[in-house]
Symmetry: C2
Subunit: 346 residues, 2 copies
């Protein structure tokens, strides 16, 4: 825990701007007086791309590298071809800074709307691999645009990459009261990658005798997410399955407006990056309807990562208390930010 | 519509045996007197593999090829290494018989338990590609079992394969009252395959001006499956996304005990194969707890495929009526089969 935080801020597109402002508001309110917070904003995203054709130039990547952490709002706009900003900016950051832990906690807070009948207890965390799988950009197409086209996507998995994320997940499971870890894959079809994952999971597991383990195919996992979400404690899975499962997890725990995430490099070699799971939602940008809670909870993950556990917990408690008291009347992005800033400052 | 049906039956493993027996019972009951039903059972699955080491020998593949259709129960057992039967038998059949349409209707029947609050209207069909994507077995591993292991899985997509499934989905959407087709992919990350799918979807769509179209990333689609399933009419997607989405669809429409599927080759060049979406459920095999309804609904798909529309609809109506009258008391596999056979015979 340092006495200063040098934070990079990438508001990005759409509601990204609005939610990040609230995240910073709460961050400022929660930090002890003697911690110096410096922020530097980076103008990256759709507008920048339209203006200059750039997604993430080397100089900015290099500058970002020297921050303690990065807070990101949302990236993407329908005016930009699909994939350009995702691959050229968001995934570029995750890969360049070796964010191999994509941490996505899912908790059903009191008094929040879940589409599930009976309001099951939900409190699990998905440890999604962040630097491999089908996300490496390893694909191509031949005879593109003709009736003879062939397009491939390659999922790359290494023992190096799988072992470190699996180990991290065991550590997290071991530190939680229920000590349960579920591997999700599809090893009955993706047999090569599946074998590597399962084998690593079993081998590393020997070092954690107190952790109960379980394996589920990804298709079966989606069933349990809606029928028995309380069976999960920590889940470890690959980049693509983690992407899919965490959106579903967000949906069953009150929606994407509450889902936080951290793109973490636990070694500290590079700055980690924190962002809400939701996208830029251009349809509601500027209306004040965006819920900044996911970003504010991402700030809590950021603080925890930097060693400010007390402050992280204070934000999470504030969100819990705030949600418990929400009565369904509309509150703007700004009003929610104000309410949470007031609570954490207390 | 022929006046005889020469059906291959692969009961398979676990509850496969039990549910297939009920499927055949209902099939026999629903068929007009003058239609001659011949069935031949194939001993394939875990027991066969343990006995002989074989999953699907060439001679049996060749024999299967001459049937009008195949009814399959379930494949898989924990005593067999993951992937052996899936790849060596189930997927081998789907690929050998070029089952490029994996048809999976999802309907929330009256009076069935859904985990979703508020019981939304659900009535959609997923047209899952069945012969390409990450299911082709195109992967490998290097330095297997060492800390330097690299494992790959390749998703293969061809214009030939994508175009035919997309066209089939447009035809199905066009024939339904709502005429809506949603493409699900992840084209912001899997840009090569995603481009082929989206481009094909847009191009073929020009021939179906009455069909309303929509595109969703697979992660976002899972959200709508639980928050707004009534927005879907027909969905077309790749082999892996279709696998994941249809288990989730089954979960929200009353569970895997009701989910039917057809592995269809619409050209008639090879026999199509019909099977419940569920697995072999070894934990309940032999207990009489397996719900045969998914298999019986798969028989309806089989009949429709062979031109027996009246009989197919009669089975579906019988299931609807039967579910509407179920009062929650336990009924065995056999009792459900008897009840449905009695209804369709009427
Ligand atoms: C925008 C997209 C590239 C991204 C992903 O697929 O990882 C998003 O869905 C997420 O989950 O953060
Ligand atoms: C058993 C497995 C190979 C299969 C698949 O992945 O297609 C199953 O999950 C299904 O959906 O029919």
């Amino acid at each position: 825990m340092s006495t200063s935080i040098n934070l990079a801020v990438i508001p990005g597109d759409g509601i990204g701007q609005e939610v990040v402002a609230q995240g910073l508001k709460v961050l400022t309110a929660v930090l002890p007086q003697d911690v110096k917070l410096e922020t530097k904003e980076y103008d990256l995203g759709a507008q920048r791309w339209h203006r200059t054709g750039e997604t993430l130039p080397d100089a900015e990547l290099e500058a970002l590298r020297h921050h303690d952490a990065i807070l990101l709002g949302a990236i993407g706009d329908p005016s930009v071809p699909s994939g350009v900003l995702e691959r050229g900016l968001l995934l570029k950051l995750r890969f360049a800074f070796d964010h191999f832990i994509n941490l996505r906690p899912s908790k059903l807070f009191p008094n929040t709307a879940t589409p599930l009948a009976g309001r099951p207890e939900i409190d699990f965390v998905v440890v999604r691999e962040g630097t491999e799988g089908p996300y490496t950009g390893n694909g191509g197409s031949l005879r593109t645009g003709t009736p003879a086209e062939v397009a491939t996507e390659v999922s790359l998995n290494t023992a190096y990459g799988v072992e470190r994320v699996v180990r991290d997940a065991y550590e997290r499971a071991n530190a939680r009261p229920r000590k349960k870890l579920t591997l999700v894959h599809k090893n009955n079809v993706l047999v090569y990658a599946g074998h590597l994952w399962k084998n690593t999971f079993d081998t590393v597991g020997k070092e954690y005798p107190e952790v109960t383990t379980d394996y589920l195919h990804v298709d079966a996992a989606t069933i349990f997410f809606v029928t028995q979400p309380d069976r999960f404690d920590v889940i470890v899975t690959d980049n693509l399955f983690g992407d899919i499962l965490t959106d579903l997890a967000a949906a069953v725990t009150g929606g994407i407006g509450l889902a936080a995430s951290g793109n973490i490099n636990p070694t500290g070699a590079f700055p980690s990056m924190f962002e809400p799971v939701h996208g830029s939602a251009p349809d509601i940008a500027g209306t004040g309807k965006a819920d900044p809670t996911a970003t504010i909870l991402s700030v809590a993950l950021l603080l925890r990562h930097l060693g400010y556990e007390t402050q992280a917990a204070r934000i999470e408690d504030a969100v819990s208390a705030d949600l418990a008291e929400r009565d369904g009347t509309f509150r703007s992005t700004d009003a929610i930010g104000d309410a949470l800033a007031a609570r954490v400052a207390g």
